[in-house]
């Protein structure tokens, strides 16, 4: 454009003060980006280090789950946050993606449990009230497994116990669940020491496994011999000693409960004999190979008995199975009926059947019984001490049968017609040879006393009947005739009557003559020798 050398003349300007020496001046300004980079790197490092794992939890319902708002809490401390809430691919579940905090990274364990906490009112109390204001949150319970996973399925209901509680879990097996549910209390000497935490039906559908948790320190009282029974409800039993009413605490009566106790005499039953004539019952679940009074291991399996009396019965560790072939009606005999030996319960009836011989059409009623040989203690006659049971059971049974050991059906109550099996020695019983190869072995029976009596009575009645018939047909017409004759004889105009009257008159005459004679003799006794005086004769 314009020539720089030919610019307009500038007026005289003052000169600026110049300073030649240049001090070394570092550019301080670069400290700022360096600091910023350090800060940024620090933040980035912290973000990476603090980055916890991301897990997914499947819920049945997304009620109350808000992405970015719903927290995951453990012991009321936030350990994570819901990032997204989406439907699963099959639209059956709600899947929440949860970002766990760094220090809660080990919650991503296989058996960690998650559930939504909402206000809940149950028989055992009110919980989750804070969620009324806060909205629901997801609670977590830390698992113990070592394997890590990142997708979970949430529980439908909050678990009763979280892993923080000290204590142990045991398994009770029962035919029915009864009135138990999750949270049902467990009592030990009427002290609430635990609760039911879970139950499930066995795969084969035959039993219910109830998991109970017994809090520490009470879990030490659950020994291998502990008995658990159903403590819910009221047991009323009427027996010879009157009416007995047995209940647990009122809460247990209302809400149900399970009680346990270790029988006192457990120590006596430490011996174990394996030589059985009958095979041992497999349902007998007393823990083998461990001392009974020892503490039970966690997850030990116990049987849940229907009530305390049954639970506290002596453990029948040995069971012998016998069949009794009755040839009479077994009406009144039921499964569970007692088998008594001279009034002592030594077993029970387990099966009643009827069987027919296809050749002879002979029908018998095989009744299977369990005998508990331990109840028939072997006692030394000299010292009264209890001896160990004989080793050879077959010989023992043979000997007993030889002595007349027989079963008999008897009536327990004439009112209800209940029958029971009585075992006793009948020395007059017909001979029987015990066959140990049969299973179950047969115990010979003899007809019951009542059966005999019945027969006799029937016979008597039959004879009486015959007699009555005979009387009716033969005796009565004859008797009639006799009566008729008698009537004829006793009629007033009958000759017999007349004769009788005449005879009586003669007798009266004779009596008066007799009187005259005695009078005369009284006055003149000499007349007996000298005869009658003349005047007297004259007279």
């Amino acid at each position: 454009m314009s020539d720089t050398s030919k610019g307009p003349e500038l007026p005289d300007l003052p000169a600026a003060i110049g300073q030649a020496s240049r001090r070394w001046a570092p550019q301080i300004i670069w400290i700022i980006p360096i600091v910023a980079i350090f800060v940024g790197l620090g933040l980035a490092y912290k973000a990476v280090v603090d980055h916890g794992p991301t897990i997914t939890v499947a819920f049945k319902s997304g009620d109350g789950l808000i992405a970015g708002k719903t927290f995951v809490k453990y012991k009321e401390v936030n350990i994570g946050l819901v990032k997204t809430v989406i439907l699963s691919e099959d639209h059956q579940q709600v899947i929440a993606t949860i970002k766990l905090d760094k220090d809660a990274a080990d919650f991503a364990r296989e058996d960690t449990r998650f559930w939504i906490v909402r206000p809940r009112i149950t028989a055992s109390g009110v919980s989750g009230l804070s969620t009324l204001l806060d909205g629901p949150f997801i609670a977590a319970d830390l698992g113990k497994s070592t394997s890590k996973i990142d997708s979970f399925v949430a529980l439908d209901v909050p678990p009763i116990l979280t892993s923080g509680n000290p204590g142990r879990e045991f398994v009770l097996r029962a035919p029915t669940l009864g009135s138990h549910g999750i949270g049902t209390p467990v009592y030990f000497r009427r002290l609430n020491v635990g609760q039911v935490v879970a139950y499930e039906l066995d795969k084969d559908g035959k039993n219910i496994s109830i998991r109970v948790f017994v809090d520490a320190p009470y879990d030490q009282y659950v020994t291998n011999n502990a008995r658990f029974w159903n403590a819910s409800g009221i047991d009323v039993s009427i027996n010879a000693s009157g009416i007995q009413l047995q209940t647990e605490s009122l809460v247990a009566v209302v809400a149900g409960g399970i009680a346990f106790e270790t029988p006192q005499s457990a120590e006596e039953h430490t011996d174990r004999i394996t030589n059985h004539p009958g095979k041992p019952d497999t349902t007998n679940s007393s823990p083998a190979n461990s001392t009974l009074s020892e503490r039970a291991k966690a997850d030990a399996v116990f049987t849940l008995f229907p009530n305390r009396v049954i639970a506290m019965k002596q453990p029948d560790t040995r069971i012998q199975r016998f069949v009794l072939n009755f040839k009479q009606s077994v009406r009144g005999l039921s499964v569970g009926a007692p088998v008594e030996f001279r009034g002592v319960n030594v077993g029970e009836v387990v099966r009643i059947e009827t069987a027919m011989d296809p050749q002879t059409y002979e029908v018998i009623q095989p009744v299977e019984v369990f005998l508990f040989p331990d109840r028939l203690k072997v006692r030394s006659m000299k010292t009264g001490g209890i001896l160990p049971p004989p080793v050879n059971e077959v010989e023992r049974i043979k000997g007993l049968i030889k002595k007349g050991f027989r079963a008999q059906m008897r009536t327990a109550s004439y009112l209800t017609g209940q029958q029971y099996i009585a075992i006793d020695f009948f020395p007059d019983a017909p001979k029987y040879t015990f066959n140990p190869s049969l299973y179950p072995p047969e115990l010979p029976v003899i007809p019951s006393a009542l059966e005999d009596a019945e027969k006799t009575i029937a016979n008597t009645l039959k004879n009486t009947d015959r007699l009555v018939k005979k009387l009716d047909t033969e005796l009565v017409p004859e008797l009639n005739q006799t009566l008729k004759n008698l009537n004829a004889v006793t009629a007033s105009d009958s000759p017999l009557q007349t004769d009788m009257r005449d005879s009586l008159r003669e007798i009266a005459k004779a009596a008066s003559s007799m009187k005259t004679l005695t009078d005369m003799l009284d006055q003149q006794p000499q007349s007996l020798i000298f005869g009658k005086p003349a005047e007297a004769v004259k007279k």
Partner: protein, 216 residues
């Protein structure tokens, strides 16, 4: 074109006295008021770069970290800037959402990119549309401080809303980073000397004219 620098004339930025520069002197002082004299802002490019790099680093946590933590009876909520925009948008306050989005996200980034563009173009000695670039610089300088509104809001709320457990608001780390970014970009804009844009034009013109003279 007559330039003050090429004529060796320097004006005092403090008292406005024009004076002749001392040749070969590294540092010059005003003969009247004693203030330091520069033809151009010293180390303008490197200073701007330093501040820009710091801003680039800090704008990442400013956007990723929560600016405000709102605590109430119902728990604590932490919100990032973008979270606030999304919240406003979803709660049907689209206009506010757009304002917040522009003021807090677009403007800081636009400022950074604009300054970067200016610095690079000056370093390359570009002669591309100097007027447009000068206008861009003026806009960046004017608009810069308005991004502080966000920081002011957060600061005011933090100071005022303190009702213990009932409700309280705390400034998050993101707010500090964001404020730092805003301040740093303001300083970056200040340290950039727009005369450098025209120096390049001047140089290229002079080069052309000398080459023309040589050819003639």
């Amino acid at each position: 074109m007559l330039m003050a620098r090429s004529e060796g004339v320097i004006g005092c930025e403090t008292c406005g006295l024009a004076q002749r520069a001392t040749p070969k002197a590294e540092r010059m002082f005003c003969t009247r008021c004693g203030a330091t004299l520069h033809f151009r802002k010293p180390n303008s490019i490197s200073r701007t770069w330093a501040l820009l790099i710091a801003s680039y680093v800090l704008i990442i946590p400013a956007n990723l970290m929560p600016v405000m933590a709102t605590g109430s009876l119902f728990g604590t909520e932490k919100d990032t800037i973008f979270g606030g925009v999304v919240y406003l948008w979803t709660s049907d306050s689209e206009v506010l959402a757009i304002i917040l989005f522009c003021a807090s996200i677009i403007i800081p980034f636009a400022k950074l990119f604009s300054l970067t563009f200016l610095v690079i173009s000056v370093q390359l000695g570009s002669a591309w549309k100097p007027k447009l670039r000068a206008r861009l610089y003026r806009m960046v300088e004017a608009i810069g401080r308005w991004s502080m509104i966000d920081v002011y809001v957060a600061t005011m709320l933090t100071a005022l809303v303190q009702f213990g457990n009932l409700m309280n608001i705390r400034a998050g780390a993101g707010a500090i980073a964001f404020a730092t970014v805003v301040v740093l970009t303001i300083f970056a804009a200040k340290s950039f000397d727009p005369r450098l844009i025209w120096d390049a034009i001047d140089r290229s013109e002079r080069k052309r004219s000398t080459s023309e003279e040589l050819h003639v």
